[in-house]
Symmetry: C2
Subunit: 122 residues, 2 copies
């Protein structure tokens, strides 16, 4: 068993791009809302402020979730995986309760069916 | 709204490393089990065989989950996110019911508490 898996110290492992993957779920029911990325600053700010911050790869900018959409995410709990290269954020969602910029609650609103996608939410 | 978010075609967007992030949850209760990566071949084999395949970044090899551990993952449903750069796999877990190579059900068995980690599962 490698040391990082049994460690009681939080030593997140950022990738070559300086980012760690974050899976964000609703604290109240565990629904997977989105997958995004954090750099060290976003992770630090998330833990310090209790408001979830990400790093936007498309905009190459720090992104405090909800600043423009109102869909804030208040951190309830942060978990880390065995090899400490991914985190799981349990959040309480503000605004309209959504996490996806399309207006839906979750970004995972389509199911793969062969080469097609079926919409689970219109 | 960009076209990829409203599309009914599955056009997964792999990163510069050829990989897409996969969040794997238990179909029966939605628990987040693990985060891993798939290359195009792993994704294709997952859909074709119904048995989840990943790409192991540490071993740089295709990885049919469960081959050595017995912790197979039978795909119940695959979802894709708004910008099609992450997938969500709903699975039924074989073997001992775990997904983590440490023997635990989920890889997210530790909670961040300041600079420390608290074990949620011994």
């Amino acid at each position: 068993m490698s040391e990082i898996e049994t460690a009681s110290a939080f030593t997140p492992r950022f990738g070559p791009d300086g980012l760690i993957t974050c899976v964000t779920v609703a604290a109240k029911d565990g629904a997977v809302l989105m997958v995004a990325h954090m750099n060290a600053e976003a992770l630090r700010l998330t833990l310090e402020t209790g408001i979830v911050h990400y790093w936007s790869r498309s905009r190459q900018a720090l992104w405090r979730k909800g600043d423009t959409s109102g869909q804030t995410q208040r951190l309830q709990e942060l978990r880390v995986d065995c090899d400490q290269d991914a985190v799981l954020a349990l959040v309480e969602v503000g605004g309209d309760g959504g996490a996806c910029h399309t207006g839906r609650r979750s970004c995972f609103y389509r199911r793969v069916s062969g080469a097609d996608l079926e919409f689970l939410v219109p």
